[in-house]
């Protein structure tokens, strides 16, 4: 690289007060290496996978380079081009490995040429490699849990321990999911999906990101109502995916949806960690920057043209909420109409249940209840806590308090989230509307 070494941001010249100088300096240096890792790891692994042809090998090479950085940077300072340093270190290790293998000659030439050309520094190449990494991490040969773990690990830069914490599962379980996924990907070519497969493959990518976000937004289990860190990780992934697929309306649709939903996170939890539902949220606490970004992403979908897909439709619904300064100003007829389109485009009992809520607001609780009642026969919803919760709310608004309480008791039985259970139990004992 042309630029000379810049002064390293860490170790800091003066140790933190109250800490032993060595400790503080080492910790800062380590944190600086980790920061570079967060920034560079996806591109590094992507570039290495193109080189060595296997995502598992590539990740190990990248990890080796990280270990080397952790050894060298604290003493020598962060290099001027940290990404380039990690890449060339990993490549040299790749050559060492290939030398030990039988068919090394052809590969060696390939690797040597790559190093000479400095190809990974070309932005187009990098974006292309990252896009391949996005698709391979969400490849259909993998189980959903493997896709989720691999995506967070390879594209989100999360450690196995961080993923385990985020999903409340033991660390070895996540480790197994990742190694099983890597094994399953052996021999899977590192390439962009052919045009005919693109819609399905893109769908898998967006689904993984959506799933990660949802687990943070309404945790299906555990003591916390939301896990904002996981939402933030998903949002970062959604931005990355929209960035590498700028012409795909649904990539922007999902991004818009997540930006808008995340904008409500600050208002979604009360002072004691209790859930605060949309009608009761203090909208002044909504994140205006995320709302602006969400509306911009939705405008991008519109500019790309064509019919809205399921994510863009959900984003349009979230945007209708975002535009209402108070709950009373919500354009419920518009939201009910959007749900009508959504259940046509992408039929789902959960979307139909949400439509029941919207119709209940637009046309009154009896109209909403009629839709919700029809869903009682739906097998997918027999253990879904929000069906009785929605029915309970509509029944309460119709003054059918005893039935409403029974529905909320049922919802409390079904939910795996402690905070949500407390909310439902409160409504099961005190039947007042809006509880």
């Amino acid at each position: 690289m042309t630029r000379p070494d810049r002064p390293t941001p860490a170790p800091a010249p003066t140790p933190e007060p109250g800490s032993a100088p060595d400790d503080g300096t080492a910790r800062r240096a380590r944190a600086a290496v980790e920061a570079v890792w967060r920034i560079e790891s996806a591109r590094l692994i992507a570039g290495l996978t193109r080189l060595v042809g296997d995502v598992g090998d590539a990740e190990e090479l990248a990890q080796d380079a990280l270990v080397a950085a952790l050894e060298q940077w604290p003493a020598e300072g962060v290099p001027a081009n940290p990404g380039g340093w990690l890449m060339s270190t990993a490549k040299h290790r790749a050559i060492d490995q290939l030398r030990r293998r039988q068919n090394y000659r052809r590969k060696l030439q390939e690797v040597g040429r790559m190093i000479d050309q400095q190809a990974p520094d070309e932005p187009d190449h990098i974006a292309d490699d990252v896009l391949r990494l996005v698709f391979i991490s969400c490849h259909p040969v993998l189980r959903t849990e493997g896709r989720v773990a691999l995506t967070l690990r390879l594209l989100g830069g999360l450690s196995t321990a961080e993923i385990a914490r985020a999903f409340l599962v033991p660390e070895p379980t996540v480790g197994q999911r990742i190694s099983r996924a890597k094994r399953a990907l052996r021999g899977v070519p590192f390439e962009l999906p052919p045009p005919a497969e693109l819609p399905a493959r893109l769908g898998s990518v967006l689904e993984v990101v959506y799933l990660i976000f949802n687990e943070g937004y309404a945790a299906s289990a555990g003591g916390d109502w939301t896990r904002p860190e996981l939402c933030a990780d998903a949002l970062r992934l959604a931005r990355l995916v929209a960035g590498v697929l700028p012409d795909q309306p649904e990539a922007h649709g999902l991004l818009a949806l997540l930006e808008l939903q995340a904008s409500r996170l600050p208002a979604r939890t009360g002072p004691d960690g209790e859930p605060v539902l949309l009608p009761d949220q203090d909208r002044r606490r909504w994140d205006r920057l995320l709302i602006r970004r969400g509306l911009a992403a939705l405008a991008r979908v519109q500019a790309l043209g064509g019919d809205f897909g399921p994510y863009a439709l959900q984003a349009a619904i979230a945007a209708a909420h975002a535009r209402a300064v108070t709950a009373a100003e919500t354009d419920w007829p518009r939201i009910a109409a959007l749900y009508r389109v959504l259940v046509e485009v992408s039929p789902s009992p959960v979307a139909e249940l949400n439509r029941a809520v919207a119709v209940g607001m637009a046309d009154g609780p009896a109209a909403g209840l009629a839709i919700a009642d029809a869903l009682r026969a739906e097998p997918a919803l027999t253990r879904y806590p929000h069906l009785p919760a929605v029915r309970g709310d509509l029944l309460a608004r119709l003054g059918r308090d005893a039935e409403a309480r029974a529905e909320f008791a049922r919802a409390a039985e079904l939910t795996g989230n402690d905070r949500e259970r407390a909310l439902f139990l409160a409504r099961a004992t005190d039947s007042g509307p809006g509880g």
Binding site: R3, A35, A232, D233, L240, P266
Partner: protein, 131 residues
Amino acid sequence: MSRYLMLLHGTPPASPPPPDLMEAIMALGEEATRAGVLLDSQGLAPGGVRVDLSGGRLSVTDGPFTETKEIISYAVYELRSAEEAVEWASRFLTLHRDRWPGWEGDAEIRRVFGPEDFTPSGPAPEPPGAG
């Protein structure tokens, strides 16, 4: 994950900004946007106006304010640690150093309070080792 505001203060040399610096800044901004970490950034027009409250009186003063380095631009990032913010700021300043000789300034990094900082009794002090 926290939000960080980066304020660029600087004293530009008399020469106009080199076009390749502007190009490099755009490329770095695009990279950070694609990575999903840069949420917002804008350049600020020089000059400015200040509204002061002092001794119970409001007063309005036109800029530029020569006693401080001018704020040139701002950027809002969403990152996992302050070190990540330092890394992006270092890259940004390195572009200036390599492309506009004589440019001096600093990138001030401030973590933005998030909902996690507010307890019922108000903003909590930053926990040690927050990141």
